[in-house]
Amino acid sequence: MSHKFPLLPVQASTVAPEVDALYWTWVAISAVSALLIAVAVFYFFIRYQRRKSGQIGHQDHGSTTLEIVWSVIPLVIVLIMFVWGTKVFFDQSRPPSNAVEYFATGKQWMWKFQHPTGKREINELHVPVGRPIKLTMISEDVIHSLFVPAFRVKADVLPGRYTTLWFQATKVGEYHLFCAEYCGTEHSLMGGTVYVMEPDDYEAWLAKAPGSGDQLATGEQLFQRFACNTCHFDGPRARGPNLEGVFGSTVKLADGSTLTADEDYVRESILTPKAKVVAGFEPLMPTFQGQVTEDQLLQLIQYVKSLGDKGAKSTPAGQTTEGAQPAAVTGGAAAPTTGG
């Protein structure tokens, strides 16, 4: 991070040049338009000065042609810019399918990150260069917003549901990480640094400080500890739906409606099980609200997700096998006191 006076922010992600091209085009259009108006105003101001008291201006009644011209031209310009801007927005907000999933949890006033290996960090995020990374994010309290200016990406982090942000870093370096949504006393201190590293350095960094167990394995343990497996299994006596193959599929609900099982649906099913009951099952499941932390929820979801595409278990970068061993700490800083 250089402390000298920068006029332009660093471009360090694949979308950054796209955003900047759009931005500078707009700046150019704005500058030309503003200049045209300023020149016209100043010219008229000097040219048509009032010479004597009581003089009146030349009366004209306007021109419909002119009105149409200066409505249509700006309209065409803004609509072109809208299409371009929306294209960039879609690039910014829709993660590519091969993106590696990291987790981010915001709370007053810190950011917690989890790597696919289960490695955790606070207010720092180490990522490999050149690889698409998707952050699935949630807040434990108020609304926050994760903002990395060098990547030109930002997304609010909400309590109660997941949002995503993705980027592919293009330049090794250290970049600011900010909370952009006002969140209370230390809002301006709720930030940190993104470290973009060469993939080898990243692997070395991961190996140097291994995680407390990979997310999948921890999720599986939680699944057993909360006794989810006593109802959710494959068999005629199962009181809950079998979760294998569920994630990403279309689920039919008791009220006849259907939905796609995604992260938010799994989360909702754990916290408010009665809200969306799967067709053919009784609403028997108790709520786990207050018993499971946001971090654990993310791990459970990761596990349910792995059940979703059984057999095609993807191995995210840097995943190690050590996590398969039972790890003592499951919930990090906030292990629950009540089990399942």
């Binding site: 829709r94 549901r161 949002t163 649906y265």
Partner: protein
């Protein structure tokens, strides 16, 4: 000045219609039309409200301005509901989380 005096009979007719519609809306609620239950219930409510607005509130004989005010208020309500529900109905689409 022109004050339009509505015949008494009209008021009682509207009153009767409103009572019948109230009974109707409660009665049809016992049948299962799926999502159409909501449509029927709201449809009956709109008819009832229109009767009140047009006859009891004299909009039928009011100036165009008053009619415009009524329509305008409803239009703005539609703006608010449609553009907000446009968000809720499309969350989670286009490959972005958010249900």
């Amino acid at each position: 000045m022109s004050v339009h005096i509505e015949p008494k009979r009209n008021y009682f007719l509207v009153f009767g219609a409103l009572l019948i519609l109230t009974a109707l809306t409660t009665w049809v609620a016992y049948f299962d039309f799926g999502a159409w239950n909501n449509v029927v219930a709201m449809g009956i409510a709109v008819v009832k409200a229109s009767l009140v607005v047009l006859i009891f509130m004299h909009v039928r004989h009011s100036t165009p301005l008053t009619k415009l005010v009524v329509v305008g208020a409803l239009l703005w309500l539609v703006f608010m509901v449609v553009l907000t529900m446009n968000d809720y109905a499309t969350r989670g689409l286009l490959g972005v989380l958010g249900k």
